[in-house]
Every structure is written in C-alpha cells, then in structure tokens.
C-alpha cells in the first residue's frame, strides 16, 4: 500500500477543515472495508486519510418519536443488533445483515456504503424505500437531501470538496406499515447483488389496500433507483396478485441494467419483476403483523 498520513479527528469541524486543507488529496476512513482494499489495489491513493469514526455525531443511533437517526459511521452490527429498530425499519436491518460477512459487518458503516455509491450497494435501496435522507456537512454549512438523489453514477455522488455525510434520517413508521430488503444472488451470503429490491408499504385500516408504497432498486441501473412509477400505480390499490404483478411490470420498465459476469440484462429484467413481487409480499405480511419469519438468503 502507498504511504499516506493518517489522523483520527474528534469533531466535525476538524474533519471539514482537514478535507478543505487537503482538497482532493484526502479520503475519509470509517469502517475501512472499502477504502483499505481500494488503496491496496491502487484505485485510490490519498495523501491523507482522515479517520472520522470517533466523531460523536457520526456515531449517533437514535430511534426517536420523530424518526430514526443513524450516524454515518455506525457499523452494520449496531443496526442489526437493535431489536426495535430491526422491527420498525426491517428493510434497513435486512440489508445490513447481508453486507459482506459478519466480520465486515463489525466495521462496515451505513455512511460508507452510501458514499462508495456502488450500484449494487445493499443498504441504499432499503434506505430509499424507507424514505431516508442524508445530512451533509461542508465548509458552507449543512444540507439535507433524499437518498435517491445522492448517487450520480457508479462510485460517484453529489458530495462536493470538503463535504461529508453526517447522518441518515428516516421518518417515523406509520401504523400498519412494513418493509423488506432482499437481493438475488446465486448463493446464500457473501456475494454482490444481481438485483436488490427494498420496499416499504403502508396499508389502510382494513389491511386490504395500499395507502402508499416505496420501492428502491439496486444493481439494475448506474445508481440505485427510486421506482416512483410503482408507488404511483399502487397507491389506493387492493393488495392482491394483480397489484403485485402490475408493480413487477412497472419495475421492469423502470430499469436500465447491464450485462456483466453476474447476469445478463435480460436476466436482471426478469429477476427484478420476481424480486419486486416477493419483497412486496413480505412487506405486506409484516405490515399485517403476520408471522413473516424471513430466513436470510432464502
């Protein structure tokens, strides 16, 4: 690995100041599970590595009445180990328990998964489905934007020089709501999504109609997507097979997948429809409080 300087900072101001000072030549380190490998293979050769995981704001994990706040440096294991969070924001926990193996989850962070901005990042479709937004801090102050607006291309995002993601915020869960994230991979674990689908649904009092639906799609376009047309088509519709099939068809039309070693474009289009149906069914089961014991990888 190339030589670099390293500093662990304790405050947001220090992080922003160092990013400014080493403009374009610094990278942030949180869990390191992407950065250290990227530096080893020479994809990134920063002169300065700023370790941000000791900043208090980036370690916040608050499930409050006004929503969920997850600091950007909170590792996956803290999310999956939080029982009430995992119940209310199941899609997020579903995604974090399949990012790498257990060793990776000890270190890998939600902010890191977002900022690496991989098209197949597991947590991003889940965050999109749950209506997440990210708080960004930079030299000019703070700004907040929806997760679906964050990634701009593979490994690219909206962050400007000197900016970092501080936390990810989610609105409170509505009554009779449920969510799920699942990915298609050829094995049960330790793989990269061929297709990843996150969904969140809110049902009416009779539990028979959708009030609202949000679907996030991964690995089927240059960035994770919000399938807005699925939401529009399902709002107010009955919960039945034809609604699920309609959602699947619209999702298939919303994507622009590539052919690569993990699957062909045609396969990804087909699998997207299948996964959207299955994920919606699970989200509905959870919204109804049915025994929806999801076995990871199955």
């Amino acid at each position: 690995m190339h030589n670099f300087e390293y500093q662990a900072v304790a405050t947001l101001d220090e992080a922003v100041q160092l990013l400014e000072q080493h403009r374009g030549k610094a990278r942030l380190l949180a869990g390191g599970t992407d950065l250290i490998d990227q530096m080893r293979i020479g994809r990134h050769t920063p002169e300065f590595v700023i370790d941000v995981k000791k900043i208090a704001e980036l370690n916040r994990l608050d499930l409050a009445t006004d929503g969920l706040y997850v600091g950007a440096a909170v590792p996956c294991y803290r999310i999956t180990g939080h029982t009430e969070l995992s119940r209310q924001y199941a899609a997020l926990s579903d995604s974090c328990c399949i990012i790498g193996g257990i060793q990776i989850q000890s270190r890998a962070t939600l902010g890191g998964n977002l900022c690496n901005s991989g098209p197949a990042a597991d947590s991003i479709p889940a965050m999109i489905a749950l209506g997440g937004s990210c708080l960004i801090r930079g030299p000019a102050g703070s700004r907040e934007l929806p997760i679906e607006s964050f990634c701009t291309a593979p490994s690219k995002n909206v962050l400007q020089a000197g900016e970092l993601v501080v936390e990810i915020r989610f609105p409170p869960r509505a009554p009779r709501s449920g969510s799920h994230y699942r990915r298609m991979i050829p094995r049960n674990e330790m793989d990269i999504a061929v297709v990843g689908v996150g969904a969140s649904v809110e049902l009416d009092e009779s539990l028979s109609h959708f009030v609202s639906v949000r679907v996030g799609l991964g690995a089927v376009a240059p960035t994770p997507l919000l399938a807005g047309a699925v939401a529009d088509a399902l709002a107010g519709q009955p919960v039945n097979g034809s609604s699920f099939a309609r959602a699947a068809e619209i999702a298939r039309q919303s994507i622009a997948p590539i052919t690569d070693m993990r699957g062909t474009r045609e396969y990804r289009i087909h699998a997207t429809g299948v996964m959207v149906q299955r994920v919606l069914e699970m989200a509905v089961a959870r919204a109804r409080g049915e025994d929806a014991n999801y076995r990871v990888g199955h």
Binding site: M1, H2, N3, F4, E5, Y6, Q7, A8, L29, G32, T33, I36, D37, M39, R40, I41, V49, D51, Y77, G100, G101, I102, Q103, I104, S106, R107, N188, E189, M190, R295, V296, G297
Partner: protein, 171 residues
C-alpha cells in the same frame, strides 16, 4: 494519546493483545495483520486473500470479529485484540480448538485460526447455534479443503462441550 500525531512516518501505537498491553511502531499504511505477524511475531493469524473475502486473518477487536487485513494498525490504538494465540489456556486447548482437532475439521490448516476466532465470536454471542446459524455466521471464512461439514460439526460439538463444562462448573 497513542496512534495520534501528524507527520509521515512511523508512530507509536498501544494495544492490548491477548491480555497483554503492548506498544509497537508502525506506518499508517500497515494493516493490523501485518503488524500482528511481522512486528509482534504473532504468526498464528494467517494471511489469505488480503482483501477481506476469505476470513483467514480474523481476530477479535474489542470482542467483535474483524478481518485484520482490512484494519489499519493505527486504527487499533487502544483496542483489545484477541488472536488465536490467546485462545488456549496455558497448555489446555479450549472447547473450539479441541472440537476442531478431535473432529478433524481441518486439512491444510491455513483457514483454521480464522475459523476458530469466528467460532469463538459466534459462541460468545449465541452459545447454542443451529446448523443454519453456524453456516451463516461462518460464511465470511473460506476453506478449500474440508467442504465445511466437519467445521460445522466441530462448532456444534464445541457448543456442547462448552455447555457441559459450564454445567459442571456450576454443580
């Protein structure tokens, strides 16, 4: 504070390894794996892929299993690290080690220290795991020899041995 300091070049990092507090000199670019093996001469932790896929270099850092190839040594400042060298109690193998040995859950042995550390982490969190839970928890550890079945059975056996030892300890 150790592990701090600006300026290129080496810095002093203090950590606790297997209960002993120690200091070492390292460059920021060195991984915990490199320092464990080359500086502290704890060569029980193995280097496999060095990109986080194989789990051979698994150690416990503050009780959590991590792949030491994806940790900078400077990040470990102040941490408690447990390696394979810290598993046996004197000359007595612990239950996981005994079960691997008795069950022949290894062939070439390169992956074994990583599997044992990961199994220790699992049993600390979940003393009676199901086969499915064992397979999921050990998914980040690769073995090219055994086909995994003997490893899974060894972890099941270790769970039984540990439970029996604890019950004997209580009675």
């Amino acid at each position: 504070m150790t592990g701090w300091g600006v300026g290129m070049g080496k810095r002093i990092v203090q950590i606790t390894v297997n209960g002993d507090t120690t200091e070492f000199l390292c460059e920021p670019r060195q991984t915990l794996l490199e320092v464990l093996r080359n500086t502290l001469e704890l060569t029980g932790t193995k280097e496999g892929c060095s990109n986080g896929n194989c789990g051979a270099c698994t150690v416990l850092m503050n009780g959590l299993p991590v792949v030491s190839c994806l940790v900078l040594a400077v990040e470990a400042a102040g941490a408690e690290v447990r390696t394979i060298e810290g598993v046996a109690r004197g000359s007595h193998l612990d239950e996981v080690q005994s079960a691997f040995l008795e069950g022949a859950a290894l062939q070439c042995g390169i992956c074994t220290p990583g599997f044992i550390m990961q199994a220790e982490a699992l049993l600390a969190r979940n003393p009676q795991p199901t086969e499915e839970e064992i397979r999921f928890y050990l998914a980040g550890n690769l073995c090219r020899c055994t086909g995994y079945d003997k490893i899974v059975r060894a972890v099941q056996r270790a769970a039984q041995l540990r439970q029996a030892a604890q019950q004997n300890g209580r009675s």
